[in-house]
Amino acid sequence: MVKFIFTFSLLLCFLSAYCQNINLQQEIGLPKSSYQLSKLLEEITNQTNAQFSFTSELNINKKVQLSDSVASVRDILNQSINLKNFKIQAKGNKIFIISIPPYDRKYRISGYISDAKSGEVLINATVANLSNFTGTVSNNFGFYSLSLKNKTHLLQFSFVGYKEVLLDVELERDTTINISLEPKTILQEVKVTANERANNINHLFVSTNSFQAKTMQQTGVFGENDLFQNLKHLPGVQNSNEGLGGLNIRNGSPDQNLILLDDVPVYYSSHLMGLYSVFNQDAINQVKLVKGGFPAHYGGRVSSVLDIRMKDGNTKKLEGSYSLGLLTAKFNLNGPIKKDKTTFNLSIRRTYLDLLINGTLDLSGSDDNIGYYFGDLNWKIVHRFSQRDKLYFSTYWGGDLASVKSSEDISANIREKVRYKLGWGNFTNSLRWNHVYNNHLFGNTTLILSRYTFLLKEKRSEKANDSDYMENYNHEFKSGIRDFSLKTEFDFIPDYKHYLKFGLEASLHHTKPGSEFIKNTSDNNSEISTDELIKSKEVNLYGEAQIRFGKKLLVNMGTRWSSFIVDNTYYSTIEPRLNTQYFLTPKWSFTGSFSQMTQYLHLVRTSTLSLPTDLWFPVTEKIKPIDSFQYTAGTHYSFNESVKLNIEIYHKLSRNLLDLKETSYFQDVNSNWENMVESGKGWSKGLEIELNKNLGKTNGNIAYTLSQSKVRFKGINNGKAYDSPYDRRHNFSIQINQFISKKSKFSAFWTYGTGLPATLSTSKIAAISPYDPSSFETKTVYTERNSYRLPDYHRLDLSISFMKKKKHGTRSWDISIYNFYNRKNTSYMYVSSDNNTSNTPKLKKINLFSFIPSVSYSYKF
């Protein structure tokens, strides 16, 4: 009560004083646009009767340029007086221009942090004020901004794997400083610095792993250094089948991962049916995986966010690389077009098995031709107009193409030529404009086009004797999804305690479940064409604030409002997000988070794998969006700059998950998909432990995940809960990289996982023939979903690299062995009576990828 009376009295005093004050909002007209400050103050006095009081520090002789002829007194004074040095107060009919004591004046330092050798921006680099251990981090474009009082400060700019830069600054005005950090050579041992307290300032660790693409060590099948293989050594990340099937993060399905390439969503992220990711290491700068505690600027999928940033290209000099492996050939070239202004980065990757096969067939004089390849092209161009404006244009094209050509005599004088093509791929484009509005406000606006297409072509032509081939049959089938989006986002950094991010995303999704064209000259209905396009709109608004309370508590809270419109159906969701981190000591912190995510696009799967034939469909009136609610808690301990221990637990609830009905079959997936699926609930929980050392001669990481994941669908498994297809109870991996010398490096990776659930049929029932009601057959019946388990999974991969400096660059031989001890890991098992003399059904297990050695050569210049 006492507090209330006191506050109320203060308010009354304030109001009474305010009533007597001159109104600073009063608008006045100014005949000129340019004044000497003393004359301007006189003009204001003449028009408002206000008396000015100021100290001699105010330079009243300076020239002042005004933008408007009519403006409020406050606006005029704000334009004329440096508010960093003076504050304006009105009392009675007096306006006081009070000098701020020098030690209280705040100035801002901002700029970009980049790699000193390549000029690539460094994302999440730390800027720390060592005098009071406050600071900030660079954003996704390498931009940082920090306000400091007017005195000498020792600033530390640091990033893992780079030499830190210490900078003595004494600011007298807002200043822009771009910082370049020198990468450490791998063999430099970790030095314990005296200012480790500065390392984690304003870094939130909740369920997030970030790394630079150049640190990727893990090779996959055939020695390809693949992004997804490198993610699988992180806790909570697994693949559903060996080498195949995409990424499963915290027991989510692959379609629940939001995969962003330079802000553009990528819908199908694998080549060769999930064996490789579509992301070429040469083109990538930095990768961030968020598994929980999602900040509000991410949304649209419920399991994870994989934010991949492409390289901008070297700003200093032209550089590149090429490599030749057993499966792929790669080429990269990047550098400045105009030094320190415009850069480019071009990366190309292609498999070449088809070229070898077809070359051999040609040599043997065969008309037949069969081939499969996948390829990627990444192109990025960045232009810096000024310190404040940057324009980025990035493109990714990648796809898989299988083709068969054959010809045969179909009668004595007619020869038929048949050509099949099957392809799928992504084409993504983003045009981004970065603008530093002022030293507090950074903006990024992006225009996005993303397209995923699945395509089938079949052509037949005939010729009689020596005449030319005439086409008599042409069939094309296409399905896919196309997105057009506009995204604008702002980073507002008022001071070191607050970091605000807010933005808007608007997207138009064009989903094509399948369009067909058939032209058959031998048929009366010579041309048939069907097409269907589902248009849907998505609008998202979000805002988040990262606030530092004292020196120990960091909180990121935000909300995302998402809305989706398709046909006459409208969905809208408010998604709250909260992340907290409490630093018990500078090295030891505790984290906690809650996040709600909503997904408006469903992937209807045509098999248990993640195949290119899977179709994306927007929500309908009957099929609702997936919602997930995830809670996490964890602790993080940094032994030093290099060695870190992370322990986290999570609990995730999901609604409106889809699974195929027990009796569904492929009838017309385009129009009838709603009736093929059943919606239900899922819940997962887990414990993740990760110990990693990322610097020094010996580095690597150890990860362990203990998890459980269940789902329940009313019409499946008699309505009882069952293990989700991605329920792997134990998952353990250890990766060690050892630099033997400056010229050679050895890596070993061992992983173990509990077998995944499998559905088997051990029963058959009598089934009547639909063509003869007196005849019966026996048919397999599945009564319990996922009630069996595949055998446990484990394997050891080894690789060794030999590097040598040459005249124009560095060459490297990489030798690797996948599955060194030839473990027969089961990818799939089924019940079969085939090839069985006793006709007794047996359990058959298919093992993929046993011992596979590979070698590759690469050259960097």
Partner: protein
Amino acid sequence: MNYFKLLTCLFLLLLLASCEEEEELPQTKSDPITSINSLIGVDSLIKLNLSKSIGSPVEIQYISDAKITAYKNDKELGELVYRENGTYELPNQYMESETEYEITITHPSFNTITTNTITPEKILINDIKILNEASEGKTTFELKFTDDASKSNYYMLLVKGISNNNSNVIQYYSNDIVFEGNLNVNDNGFEQNMLRGSRSFSDENFESSQVEISFYILANDFFVDYQEYKIELYHLNEDYFNYERSFVSLENKGDIPFSNKTNLYSNVEGAFGIFTSYALDYKIVPKQ
């Protein structure tokens, strides 16, 4: 060849590096499964077959001691009588068209099972023409019938070869849009490929109520010299249509790796199986 096969080829490439192991089946985890089978034509006796799996993956046991009661438009018709090999029959009761029939099955070893069907009306074949293209070894038929455009209708077309009073279902082909995705010659699309060989179709692709379908048989497909062909047009209800398609789909799926594990279409509550009906019209045409 179609794109599913291409995908399979790709997968086989991966399998080159793979191998297969064989083991004894694990102990079954499911209880015995009761199955009901009944496809009844209009003007036929009401009958069904009742059996159960007994845990072993190959053996099936007939159930002979169940109490099965039939109802017609919610009125009890009587109790079905057990004949042999799991078959029960309601004597002297013939199915009428456009009527609802319901069956309840009770037995001490399982909970009550219920299922029902609404019989369709007979659709008459208006005309059938036969064209012999001897040079190509091909016999083409043109079938005409009238579809009731006010309802969703489902059909099945069977061709039977008749020789010495025996008839056999024989393979036929068609480029007609009504069979889109069903038959071997015009299969396309992954989901439709699973339906190759299916002989059912819906009225979805009919251009008018006067339906004309062209289909053909190839002499090389069979060794018997059939003197006559029986063309059967089945008017199905939706359950029959779904059952036929799921039956074909399961056959085609076979042991394809990574295929989704789904069951035969069932319209029975409390068990697996089918209880549905059809109305049949046919014409016999001599070989030309």
